[in-house]
């Protein structure tokens, strides 16, 4: 662990950031798409599969945590270093419009996809307009 990440974890200070495993925690890049009946969260988490990602929902706080596994090259020297490896963590606050019971998650090729159906009440309703005179 480099000095930098140690500093981040100390400054965070909350118990959940205290980890037994050394290493950095990265914020994954995320897309959020709103569809008619659902909200999709897509997170880039290379090195993570369906067995190494934890999704927790506590009250309205949704946390995604991915433990990445990487095969590190043992021999030779590092010539180019454009990315660091570590775990991923990101926290979202859900609004009431999501149906919490029906959230689905899948991981494919290092990308986590959360499908969150909208609760019935939040779905957009089209209100028919009748042609008629005022009473």
């Amino acid at each position: 662990m480099n000095e930098a990440s140690g500093k981040v974890q100390r400054e965070q200070g909350s118990p959940e950031t205290v980890r037994a495993r050394a290493g950095r925690i990265y914020t994954p890049y995320v897309d959020i798409v709103e569809r008619k009946d659902e909200i999709i969260v897509i997170a880039d988490m290379p090195g993570v599969d369906e067995n190494s990602v934890d999704i927790t929902l506590e009250k309205n706080v949704l946390t995604i945590y991915g433990k990445a596994s990487f095969e590190l090259s043992e021999d030779g020297r590092l010539l180019l270093h454009e990315y660091g490896t570590g775990d991923y963590r990101r926290v979202f606050t859900l609004s009431d419009e999501v149906d919490r019971e029906k959230i689905q998650a899948s991981v494919r090729n290092g990308v986590l996809k959360l499908v969150m159906p909208k609760a019935e009440a939040a779905k957009m309703r089209k209100i028919p307009v009748k042609n008629g005179a005022y009473n």
Binding site: V33, R35, I39, D44, P46, G47, E82, V111
Partner: protein, 142 residues
């Protein structure tokens, strides 16, 4: 907007991203400073290993070509297709066509290059060409 909370929280609780930005000032390269896809390269005397992060891509959509002392990686990473009435609330993931060439420390034997794709990470092993390997020259004593 119902998701404004999320947007705001996203900004507030992103200390790592800010940290990464600060890190760049000290000479560490954050992911955003690097052209997609980010690569790490290791090399020993006889072999080079390249690892690169291509999350969400199918291996068939990745093109690797090796010529003498350089490797070119190209492909297309598609964004989520939106239908009418759908919209992005947040879009941080990179998409588009990419082509990235890096110089290798030596000439490689293209026929022996191996590539493997697992969990969004591409591993490429490049053995050094026999002809390029350093030869020990024996010195005759007179």
């Amino acid at each position: 907007m119902l998701w404004s909370d999320l947007e705001r929280i996203g900004h507030f609780f992103d200390p790592f991203r800010d940290f990464e930005r600060a890190g760049m000032a000290f000479g560490f390269e954050g992911p955003s400073a690097v052209e997609f896809p980010a690569m790490n390269v290791w090399a020993s005397d006889g072999n080079a290993v390249i690892t690169t992060e291509l999350p969400g891509m199918d291996p068939e959509a990745i093109d690797i070509s090796v010529a003498n002392g350089s490797l070119t990686l190209s492909g297309l990473r598609k964004a989520e297709e939106l239908k009418e009435g759908e919209s992005y609330h947040r879009k941080e993931r990179w998409d588009g066509r990419f082509k990235k060439t890096i110089e290798l420390p030596f000439s490689v034997d293209a026929s022996k290059v191996q590539a493997r794709f697992s969990k969004g990470v591409l591993y490429i092993s490049l053995p050094r060409a026999e002809a390029d390997k350093p030869r020990k020259i024996s010195i005759k004593s007179e």
